[in-house]
């Protein structure tokens, strides 16, 4: 069964690329356009991994990450945080709140794929 990836980002231009990239590599993809949608999708879509943007409307990526980690049944979900701010202190905060990896924009799609692959243990 294909691994499921939730892409949570409010910018359609990155979402399209990420969606294409993930699907081409054999992942099942769902999109969330803000923090609330992301949290809702975690419950319904049950993803193996989340590409989580920090700056989103309604709820920030930090909040979504913290909420997920507060729920014992969601501990196995891998979280890669994406940020355009790139401040070291935010990375420290993200990791403290339970993110598995932190990627600063702009990133190489190849490296992102490798990171996703490593965390999810392959697409299948």
């Amino acid at each position: 069964m294909a691994k499921r990836v939730l892409i949570a980002d409010d910018e359609p231009n990155i979402v399209m690329s990420l969606e294409f990239l993930m699907e081409r590599n054999g992942y099942e993809v769902q999109i969330a356009r803000n923090g609330e949608e992301a949290l809702a999708a975690v419950g319904t879509f049950n993803p193996d991994l989340i590409l989580l943007d920090v700056m989103m409307p309604l709820r920030s990526g930090f909040e979504v990450c913290q909420k997920i980690r507060e729920n014992p049944t969601w501990q196995a979900i891998k979280i890669i945080m994406l940020t355009a701010k790139g401040r070291e202190i935010e990375i420290a905060k993200g990791m403290a709140l339970g993110a598995n990896a932190y990627i600063t924009k702009p990133f190489s799609t190849k490296e992102l794929l490798e990171q996703v692959y490593a965390l999810s243990g392959g697409a299948e």
């Binding site: 399209m16 507060e70 994406l82 355009a84 790139g86 420290a92 190489s108 190849k110």
Partner: protein, 721 residues
């Protein structure tokens, strides 16, 4: 008694004594003789009665001369004494005319030459003092001229917080209406800068104490640049950045401080906007680049993608490239308006920050604190006042909303950051609540700064969040701050230097039978009453002998809070001389009192200020006695109930012997600062009083009446000793 009468009496006394003695002698001999011998002697004497009479008379005349001679010396000695006193006390120009016997003449000459020498010396000293004073005046004028030219506000205080010198800019910045000149004539109080006034009426004494602490710390470490910074808000709402530099005497101990201040309201806004601008530029650039890069990499990596997808990705690239260009244009345009902010952060020892926060939690919020771990090696680059305010704010919310009354501190390093955690038993603050807190201004119990938690975090390039601690029942609030690396340090504790206090403790004024004691007031709890806490400075300690009030300071207290905005401080022309001892105590010199209003102008103001409140003072009988003696002159009677912190302290701590204001404050953990200005003392008395209320409650003393009765009992107990 006149000299003649004195002389006559001495002569008469001497005569009777001589005659009496001779008479006794004759009688004793007479009765020892036989009858024949008596007859024989009678015959002999009767025959020579004239000779006996003559010699007796001559003896008496001789005595008169001897006595007169002695008496002349005596009268001259008396005169010498009187005239010498005259030279010494009233008229140094007076000289004694040498008259009378040679002994007194010689003495007069010696005294005169002493007087000459004394006068020369005094003239010399006075000339020198005048010269020195003129030099000083000149220097002061130069300094004043220089200061008035400065665009920064400058204010010089002594260690007690009394304003010694200030320039116009300082007055402008700190007065209530920054655009109008400070001519608040209504009550002459309330945040106005003035010579001899207390700085604490203008700037929160906690901030000053905090900055002084930092200075002492820096002095202890032998730092070369000894300046402590803080930001405070003026009454008009502007943000004022204050730099405090120490004034030290030859022994290097702190005798005062210089405050320089500037209005950074605009600069702060500008700097904030600049930060936001930079941040938004970085974010939008990064995200546009990310979009372009992801799209282009997809195109390159997957050449087999359909035509439709290819068009989609190339469109993305074009859109993002245009957006990027527009963002850059906008930034260039905006940033031209902004310039660099100089809001500077200072190095602070992490453990110092923790202890400052601990003190505040305990004294301001009544929250018990504990330390789990504090890494002594950590330094932070912060504006300590705003960080302390921020943490105090968070704690007050935790206490009020989550009922948390006990927290632990942890300060540890994590990479290039320092984690400052507030830890408590229980669950964390939920995310939504924290988000609300982040955006509210940091005001706790009426004091604070017009910034939000988020502002403070952003200013320090820090982050805050709250979560449960894994594997425990605890939660923590974390402030993550960048680490700083200053010189290794050497600690030294701040020991406040305070002069000894007024000793007098009892005064003849009946505190316990004020006509204004009414039962409806008497039954109300101490915590609910409105108080006027006041203090006076005087020319001396004896009102009945003409000593006068020269300053009144007062602060109002409502609902367990001292209202810093509702204060009164006024110097008063006593219309009499002041003893040097008094000047030494309060530091108010006679020239400061020139042109000040007199007591009959001020008492009505004070009366209005204190109307319908309970009066509180330390050793209240002393101050009340001064007010009472003015009743006839001014027609003003202070009939309201009076509480005395000295007696209340004795109620609470009956075994302690020292109930001076300093001793009580030390006992209750109140920082000694700003003593010996009337307002400074009043504020400290107020802080003491507020701390005494819960201690009284522990002894079952809750109402005004109970407090007064307990004080009265203690008063009698003290008097009996």
């Amino acid at each position: 008694m006149s000299l003649k009468l004195k002389f006559a009496l001495s002569v008469a006394g001497l005569f009777s004594f001589v005659i009496y003695m001779i008479g006794i002698c004759v009688l004793i001999i007479w009765f020892n003789l036989t009858a024949e011998e008596q007859a024989f002697l009678q015959q002999i004497l009767a025959e020579r009665i004239f000779i006996i009479m003559l010699f007796t008379f001559m003896l008496l005349i001789g005595l008169v001369f001897a006595v007169e001679r002695l008496f002349i010396v005596y009268t001259h000695a008396t005169r010498l004494h009187e005239e010498t006193r005259l030279i010494l006390t009233a008229n140094p120009n007076h000289r004694i005319t040498p008259t009378g016997p040679s002994e007194t003449r010689r003495l007069a000459v010696v005294i005169n030459s002493f007087a000459d020498r004394h006068q020369d010396l005094q003239t010399d000293v006075e000339t020198r003092i005048r010269a020195a004073r003129a030099d000083l005046e000149e220097e002061k004028d130069i300094l004043a001229a220089l200061m008035s030219e400065l665009t920064q506000g400058v204010l010089v205080c002594n260690i007690d917080g009394q304003v010694l010198l200030y320039n116009n800019r300082a007055r402008q910045l700190l007065s209530q209406h920054p655009d109008k000149p400070a001519t608040n004539g209504t009550n002459g109080v309330g945040g106005l800068v003035g010579l001899g006034r207390s700085i604490f009426a203008i700037i929160d004494r906690n901030i000053i104490a905090h900055a002084l602490d930092n200075l002492h710390h820096a002095i202890g470490q032998g730092h070369s640049s000894l300046v402590s910074h803080f930001v405070t808000s003026a009454m008009g709402g502007q943000l004022i950045r204050v730099s405090m530099a120490p004034v030290r005497d030859k022994q290097q101990s702190l005798t005062g401080f210089v405050l320089t201040m500037e209005d950074i309201t605009r600069r702060f806004e500008v700097s904030n906007r600049k930060d936001i601008l930079t941040q938004s530029l970085v974010e939008s650039t990064r995200s546009s680049l990310a979009n372009i890069r992801a799209a282009i990499e997809n195109i390159l990596e997957y050449p087999d993608m359909g035509r439709q997808r290819l068009t989609m990705f190339t469109k993305i690239i074009r859109e993002e490239a245009i957006a990027l260009g527009a963002e850059l244009d906008k930034t260039v345009k905006d940033s031209a308006e902004y310039f660099e902010s100089q809001w500077s952060l200072e190095d602070m020892h992490g453990s110092d920050l923790i202890s400052a926060v601990q003190r505040r939690f305990e004294t301001k919020l009544g929250v018990a604190t504990r330390i789990i771990a504090v890494d002594e090696r950590l330094w932070l680059k912060i504006d300590s006042y705003s960080v302390v305010q921020a943490l105090t704010y968070i704690m007050s919310r935790l206490r009020d909303e989550l009922r948390i009354t006990q927290v632990s501190f942890r300060l540890e390093r994590s990479g290039r950051f320092v984690r400052l955690d507030l830890i408590w038993e229980g669950s964390p603050v939920d995310i939504e609540t924290l988000r609300v807190w982040e955006h509210q201004t940091l005001v706790t119990n009426g004091e604070g700064i017009p910034l939000t938690l988020k502002d403070v975090a952003d200013r320090h390039r820090g982050e805050v969040w709250c979560q449960a601690e894994k594997g425990t029942e605890r939660a923590y609030f974390r402030l993550l701050l960048p680490i700083s690396h200053p010189d290794p340090e050497l600690q030294q504790q701040f020991i406040p230097q305070i002069s000894s206090s007024r000793r007098l403790e009892y005064y003849d004024f009946d505190l316990f039978n004020q006509p204004g004691q009414k039962s409806e007031l008497d039954e109300r709890p101490l915590t609910e009453l409105t108080y006027t806490i006041f203090d006076t400075e005087t020319t001396g300690l004896n009102p009945a002998e003409g000593d006068e009030i020269i300053a009144i300071g007062a602060v109002r207290c409502i609902n367990g809070r001292l209202l810093r905005q509702e204060t009164m401080e006024q110097l008063i022309d006593p219309r009499r001389r002041m003893s040097q001892a008094a000047i030494n105590i309060h530091g108010i010199s006679p020239d400061m009192l020139e042109d000040q209003p007199t007591i009959d102008q001020i008492l009505p103001r004070f009366y209005n200020f204190a109307e319908d409140t309970v009066l509180v003072a330390h050793n209240a009988a002393f101050d009340m006695r001064f007010l009472q003696l003015k009743e006839e002159q001014t027609g003003i009677k202070f009939i309201q109930p009076v509480l005395d912190t000295l007696l209340l302290s004795a109620v609470v701590h009956p075994t302690q012997s020292d109930h001076s204001l300093d001793a009580i404050a030390q006992r209750l953990g109140i920082k000694l600062l700003g003593r010996h200005t009337a307002l400074g003392d009043a504020i400290m008395t107020g802080e003491v009083f507020l701390k005494l209320i819960p201690l009284l409650a522990e002894q079952g003393i809750h109402t005004l009446k109970e407090a007064r009765e307990a004080a009265q009992q203690t008063y009698y107990a003290l008097i009996e000793y």
